[in-house]
Structures are given as C-alpha cells and as structure tokens.
C-alpha cells in the first residue's frame, strides 16, 4: 500500500489546470492563494463601505445615506473586516508558510483545507446579498453592529438576521476546520529535529491562535443559535419578559469576542517576529519569552471579556476583577514590544518595505495598547465607552496592528511565492502614504471620543465637525492608497517586475522556507529537511 502512495507522489509535480485546479484544490499554496485573494477582495468591499460612512460623516447633516442604511453599512463593514479580511488573510498566510517553515510537503488535512476555504464565499455571499437586497428596497440588511447585541438583533432584528446567523455558522465551521488543520500540521509534520522550541515564532503564534479558535468559535456558534431559537422557536435566553437576560447575550458574545481580538493579532505578532530579525540581521531577542508571552496573552484573554461591559451595571467586585485582569494583559504585551525593540537594538538595520511596515506596526500597535490600558480603568472607561475613543483604539490595534502585519507579511514573502521581487519604489509609496493617512484618519478620533462623540451615529452636532472632516480626508487617502498595493501585488504575481528573486531573497533571512527555490515548488518539502 505504501509503495503505491509513494509511486503516486513521484509524478505529482505537474499542477492540475483550469478551474478544477482551484475548485478541487488540496494544495496548501493554491488554497493559501485563494484565501489571500478572498481577503483582498473583501478588504476592498469593506473599505468601500467605510468610505461611504466617512463621506456621510464628512460634515454635519445627512448627505448620502439615511440613518437606517448607515447602521447597515457600519454592521457590514465591521463583520467583513473582522471575519472576511483579517481572519482569512491569516489563514492564507498560515497555509502558505507553515508547511514551508516546518519542513512539510503540505498541510496535514488537505481535503478539509479545501472545504474550509470554500465555505467562505458562501458565507459572505449571503451576507453581502442582504445588503444588495436592502439597496434594492427589499428589507433591511443586518443593522445591529458587528457585536449584534440582543434584543436589537433578536426581537427587533430585521428578517435578514437569519441570513446573518447562517452566515456566521458557516464562517465558524470554516475557522474551526482551519484551526484543526493547522494544529494537526504543526503537531505531526515538523521536520526531524524541529522541536517545539525551535519552531519559528510565526508558527508558534498560529499554533496558539488555533487553540483559541477551537475554544471560542463554538461559543460564537452557540450565541447565534440562541438568537435563532429566541427569534423563531419561543425561547427567551435574551428576553427579560420571558425570564431571560439581554446582558447574558453580552457575556456569551464577549467570551468569544475578547479571545477573538487576540486571534486577530497574535499571527501578526508572529509575522513581525519573523521580519524584524531578518532586517536587523540579528536573532530574535528572547525567543522563549516571546513564546511564553504569547501563551500568557492567550490564557488571560479568556478572563477579561467583561471589560467590554463595564456600563451594563455589573457588581463592583466584578468590575474590579475584570479591570485588574485586563491590566495584567499589558505585561506580556509589553514583553513582546520590548523584545522587538531589543532585537533592533545594535542590529544592522535596513528598511525595505516589509521592515517599514513592521516598524510602523510596533509604533502604532503600541499606541493602541496604551489606549487599551486607558480603557480598562473602569472610572475612565465610563467616559470612553461607546465613543470614538474606542473606535480609535481598535483601529490602531486592528488596522495599524493586524492589517499592517499582514501587509508586511505579504511584502516579505511574496518573492518566495512568485519568484519575483516586488517593486520596491511602489512599496515605499504604499507605505508612506498609508502610514501618514492612517494617522490622519484615526488619531483625531481620540479627540472626538474624549470630547463626547458616541460611536455608530450617522450625524453629529457642530462641535465635532473639524476632526470628522480631517478623519474623512485621511480615510479617502488611505483607501485609495491601497490600490497601489493591489497594483504592486498583481505586477509581482504576473512577473512584470524586472528582478527575479533568489531562494534566499533577504540577506538576513533564516529558516527553512528560504532554503526552497523561489517560486517555491508546488509540493514544498517532498523529503523532510534535517533541522539541527
């Protein structure tokens, strides 16, 4: 039997062709590519919604959308960015890089890999269809925010809420299967000699993220299922009139939601931990403390959820517990930042595009971490909560954190994927325009929040006009700058850049992926490399 399999493997390096190559793909690189393109397309759709929102908020008054539609836009923007952009992009990077980094031929469960990708277009097709139908005058799309608090989403939810529930179930199944696959791959397919404490940090962060996903995606599935039965089958989990409690919804949601925010950052921590040593030409500082810090963050993320709920009227003992626990997260997060800075310290730095994004990540993510620390101080959170201050906080951690991490990763690895060097000049344009505009966009939101502007409002009173105008200008520049990124990626993928990549690609890069030729062969390591 095993002889048959081996023989089969021998002829395997010619790729399947046509649409079948993609539809039926079991190849980690092709599936990774599909995940990344999916995420990229969703990024532009979610971004377009954001630009409509920012256009509406450019000046006081209602100019472009009615308040009902505004709420649908913010909801879809949030859902698409969280579940359709950040998470699939990370899974795409994991698919591409984990087998290459651990010396494996492919992912452990290739057919499940195919299925977990192909659920996503269905899930998002359904969600986006609800917005298209709303624009065509057929009912409202989900309009309760990406946090879909009951009873706004249950008793008061539009008919499309059921689409939303189904869509979330599909995303959840997709994420769980992706996570199982990653864990199975990392546990079973490491090259001989690659012990856990020799794995690249990116692999470590994804390993931990995958456990977080398996732990909390079922909770998300649970909460939407409870919504479903409240809506249609006479239960009253979240309905006080029937003996339930709307706040229970928030507890269940945030028990998923807070680990989720770490799901959206840990892989970026991993990417940054790969890039900084390469361009500092120096080993990562404190490898093992990086691993332990990641694990502590993951653990703590399970016991801080109610910091999103300080204004719901918790007992004061609860408020104190969640405040202290949240403060603790700052310690391992700080360790990571200090380690990156020390990796750069007395290195031999160069500043290609991936490194520029990584440096911006460290600066700007840290600012998001600072505002996070401010937010967990309960008496002050009573003022910040549900204002633009929170909007500023999570965009610093998600856009200049998670998304900049992904962009850094794409620039870093695209020569390996395509065999072509990307256009460095365009990369630098993309970087500088992004990093300036993103701050013009999000920094003033701190001021708006502190001055008292609530989030999720389609119109505002005059004292907020100036900074909203500034933020909207930043938004349009940031949005259109991403077209440079798109162009650069397409140009590189199509081999229209002049420079071919070597297998090493970056002078200071270390790790198994750089021992493979560029572009990497269809099956990564057919014979496992030996790691010393």
């Amino acid at each position: 039997m095993s002889a048959v399999i081996e023989e089969h493997h021998d002829h395997h390096d010619h790729k399947p062709t046509g649409i079948g190559r993609w539809l039926f793909s079991t190849n980690h690189k092709d599936i990774g590519t599909m995940y990344l393109w999916f995420s990229f397309i969703m990024f532009f759709i979610g971004g377009a919604l954001a630009l409509v929102i920012r256009a509406e908020l450019f000046e006081p008054g209602l100019q472009f959308v009615e308040p009902e539609l505004f709420n649908q836009l913010t909801t879809l923007h949030g859902l698409i960015m969280v579940f359709g952009v950040i998470m699939p992009a990370f899974v795409g990077l994991a698919n591409w890089m984990i087998p290459m980094m651990i010396g494996a031929p492919d992912m452990a469960l290739p057919r499940m890999n195919n299925w977990s990708f192909w659920l996503l277009p269905g899930a998002f097709g359904l969600l986006i269809a609800s917005l298209v139908m709303s624009l065509m005058g057929m009912g409202s799309a989900p309009n309760f925010g990406w946090t879909f608090y009951a009873p706004l989403s249950t008793t008061y939810g539009p008919a499309s809420t059921d689409y939303f529930i189904f869509s979330v179930h599909m995303m959840g199944i997709s994420s769980i299967m992706g996570a199982i696959n990653i864990i199975a791959t990392i546990m079973n397919m490491r090259a001989p000699g690659m012990t856990y404490m020799k794995m690249p940090i990116f692999v470590w962060t994804w390993f931990i993220t995958a456990y977080l996903l398996i732990a909390v995606m079922p909770v998300l599935a649970g909460v939407v299922t409870m919504m479903l039965t409240d809506r249609h089958f006479g239960t009253s989990f979240f309905n006080a009139a029937g003996g339930g409690d709307p706040v229970l919804f928030q507890h269940v949601f945030w028990f998923f939601g807070h680990p989720e925010v770490y799901i959206m950052i840990l892989p970026s921590f991993g990417i940054i931990s790969q890039i900084v040593p390469t361009f500092a030409r120096k080993k990562i500082f404190g490898y093992s403390s990086m691993v332990y810090a990641t694990a502590s963050i993951a653990f703590l993320s399970f016991i801080v959820w109610a910091h999103h709920m300080f204004t719901t009227g918790m007992p004061v003992a609860g408020e104190l517990f969640f405040m202290y626990a949240t403060m603790l997260i700052a310690v391992p997060t700080g360790v990571k930042v200090f380690n990156w800075v020390s990796t750069m310290w007395r290195g031999s730095l160069s500043f290609e595009t991936p490194m520029l994004f990584a440096i911006a990540f460290i600066f700007l993510f840290t600012i998001g971490g600072f505002t996070g620390l401010m937010l967990c101080i309960v008496p002050a959170d009573f003022q910040y909560h549900d204002t633009y201050f929170v909007v500023a906080h999570f965009h610093y951690v998600l856009v200049t954190g998670a998304a900049f991490g992904i962009m850094a990763g794409v620039y870093y690895w695209i020569p390996k994927w395509t065999g072509n060097m990307y256009d460095e000049t365009l990369g630098k344009w993309h970087f500088w325009l992004s990093v300036i505009s993103v701050n013009v966009l999000f920094f003033p939101m701190h001021f708006l929040g502190l001055a008292g502007m609530p989030r999720r409002i389609p119109d505002y009173s005059l004292q907020f006009a100036e900074f909203n105008a500034v933020a909207s200008i930043g938004a349009f520049v940031f949005g259109f700058t991403q077209l440079i990124f798109l162009y650069n990626v397409i140009k590189t993928a199509r081999g229209k850049t002049s420079v071919k990549a070597t297998s090493q690609v970056w002078e200071g890069a270390e790790g198994l992926e750089w021992t493979l030729p560029s572009p990497a062969p269809f099956h990564s390591f057919t014979t496992p490399p030996q790691v010393k």
């Binding site: 608090y149 009873p151 409002i457 009173s461 100036e466």
Partner: protein, 377 residues
C-alpha cells in the same frame, strides 16, 4: 535646511488653523461631579504614564533606527538574551500597573455607593426618546414626561437640509430633565425596548438602560446649569438622535418648577374631560405627531418602505376607528410600534389619531374625542 523651514511653516499653519477652528475639544473635561472629576484625574494620570513609557520605548527604537543602520556600517551584535532585562521589564510594568490600580479602585468604589439618596428619578429609554419619572422612591412627585429631540426633520435625508445647523443642532430637547443642585439623586435606569445608555459627560455617568432590568447610579450636581449628553448604545435607526439634556436648578427654582409641572398636569386632566373642536384636535395632533410619530412614520405620513409603514392612505388610518385606536394604544408586539397607552394622555392620543385620519389626504372626516380614548383603554 529648507525642508526644516517648510516643516516648521506647516506646523505653525496647522496650529494657527487649529486656533481658528470653532469649539473643538481635544481632551476629556473634568466635569462637575466627583465621578467625572475622578474619571478625569485617573484618565490624565494613566495617559501621562503611557506617554512616559512611550517616550522611553519609542526613543530607544528611534535611536537604533538612526544609529544602527546597515548603511552607516553598523554590524549586528549577538545581543539576543538577557535574563536581568527580561525580568526587569516584566516586574517594572507590573509595579506601574499597581500604581494605576490603587486610585482607580478608590474612585470606582465611591461611584458605586448609591446609599442614602435625597431623591430618586427613574429614567426609561424608548426608541428614540427618554422618559423621566419622578414618581419613585424618596420624595416622590407625580411627574413624568418624555424628552424628545426638537428637530425631528433632522432625522431624514430629504428634510435634514431644512434644519438649521446651529449650536442647538441635534443636542436640544423639548423637555429637559430638571434636578435640584446639591442633592444626592439616585438614578434608576431602564428601557422599554432595546438597550440604550444614558450618558452625561459632565457627570461622569454612563449607564446602560436594559429592558427588564433596573440599573442604579447617582449624581450630586453642585452648580446650576445645563448639562448635555447623548444615548451611547446603538439602539436602532435613530440612535444618533436621542440627546440628553439636564437642567440643574437651585432648590427654590426646583420647587417652583415642581409646582408649575403639577399645574400643567391639572390643566391636562381638565382638557381630557372637555369635548374638543376638530380644529383644536388637528392643531394639537400635528404637534404630537411631529414629536412622537414622525421619527418613524415621517412628517409626510409616507413612512419608510419595508421599515415603517405609511399612514397616508393606510388601511388602518382610513378604516374603522376602533382598530386604529387599538394599534396606537397597544402597539404591535415584536415591532418598533410601541404601546402608546402608557406614554400619552387621552387628549394627546385623541388629537394624534384625529390628525392621522384627516391629514395627507386621509380625509375620513372622523373625530376622536378624549372620552373615546378613555373608553377604549
């Protein structure tokens, strides 16, 4: 050099234009209560600690970005481990956190102490207005009213353009919450439909209004004045349009206000017993409709397709009176159409129903009297 001059020019331009901007605000304000001042104090402290940490961390990073460049011939050292350093940057932040946690805990414990109030007020969130009820707890007064935004036309794209964008835009209400100064006032906060949050920054109070549950908070406002806030929790389409306005009055003025409210209530009760003319009903009905119904059904009566039904030409508003009365009194459960029986008096209900049956070409000619409403309750 010339680049430096240009940058300096740009910065001064920005500063100058910042000064010429009207009314913007960069930081949290200390507010007037002990909580809002506590929040401000701890906000300021934590912010400056963060700035200080930032200066150190970003300073180190900038230093190595400038000095440890390959292009300047820097050679990488082998500095990749240091137990002492790693211990230091685990323990020092921990100590800093303790420094923050102590005042935060003190301020919080003070806020949560709702004992021994002088007076209680129940605040109920509705889609999209606030109800203030003084008829609870200590010193109860038989006063209860709704507080609506004054500019319902601002809520729709088609009519928003006609609303003046002045200092009152979106922040003014028809009836303010009136409170006495220097009294400990307990706030009982709840909701009639979805979750709202009652927030007045100058008081440092933000509490969710949750249907079926009552949250408590308290305020003690030292200075007479007008304090403004907003609903802070997404509560549906018009979440952006439910301002909070509180007027703090000295004790004497407050008592005078209580007396005047009682007089208004007596007059309203009297008007409920008289028989109204059609003109009076229509005039009153138009007012009630604009403040209470137009947010959903639109001033034009056309509603919003698929969300809020049109009343213009609707089968209910032009059909039997009893059915119309019933839907307005008892609402439609599970939809945004609330039961208005508990929200309005007989005269206002009679007026608004009469108005709906005769406005926008719904020329039924019907008249509904307060006595009809009373009978139907």
């Amino acid at each position: 050099m010339s680049a430096a001059i240009r940058v300096a020019g740009l910065i001064s331009l920005l500063l100058f234009s910042a000064q010429s901007m009207a009314g913007y605000q960069l930081n949290m304000k200390p507010g007037v209560t002990s909580f809002s001042q506590g929040a401000y104090e701890i906000h300021t402290m934590v912010m400056w600690i963060c700035v200080a940490i930032g200066v150190v961390v970003f300073g180190a990073m900038l230093y190595s970005i400038i000095n440890h460049r390959k292009s300047k011939g820097a050679v990488a050292s082998d500095f990749h481990e240091s137990t002492a350093l790693e211990l230091a940057w685990t323990i020092v932040p921990f100590l800093i956190l303790i420094v923050m946690a102590i005042p935060a805990t003190r301020i919080l414990l003070d806020m949560e102490d709702v004992s021994n109030p002088d007076l209680s007020i129940k605040i109920t969130g509705y889609q999209w207005k606030w109800n203030y009820d003084y008829n609870v707890g200590e010193n109860a007064q038989d006063i209860s009213f709704f507080s609506n935004i004054t500019t319902p036309d601002a809520l729709h794209k088609s009519t928003n353009g006609g609303v003046a964008k002045d200092k009152d835009y979106l922040i003014e209400v028809d009836k303010k919450l009136v409170i006495p100064t220097n009294k400990k006032i307990r706030l009982l906060i709840t909701s009639n439909d979805v979750i709202h949050a009652w927030w007045v920054p100058a008081f440092g109070v933000k509490k969710d209004a949750i249907p079926g549950f009552i949250n408590e908070s308290w305020i003690n406002v030292p200075e007479p004045g007008i304090y403004r806030g907003k609903c802070a929790e997404l509560c549906g389409a018009n979440h952006g349009f439910m301002p909070v306005v509180v007027e703090a009055k000295s004790e004497a003025d407050y008592n005078a206000w209580i007396a005047s409210q009682k007089a208004v209530a007596t007059a309203a009760a009297a008007s409920a017993n008289k028989t109204w003319t059609k003109e009076d009903l229509m005039a009153q009905g138009e007012k009630v409709y604009a403040t209470t119904c137009a947010a959903c059904h639109q001033a034009s009566g056309a509603g919003i397709p698929n969300v809020f039904p049109a009343l213009k030409g609707s089968a209910i508003a032009t059909g039997p009176v009893a059915k119309h009365l019933n839907i307005v009194l008892h609402g439609v459960t599970g939809t945004a159409m609330q039961a208005f029986a508990g929200q309005m008096n007989d005269a206002d209900l009679a007026a608004v129903i009469t108005y709906e049956r005769n406005a926008w070409g719904n020329n039924t000619g019907d008249m509904v009297q307060p006595s009809d409403v009373k009978a139907a309750r």
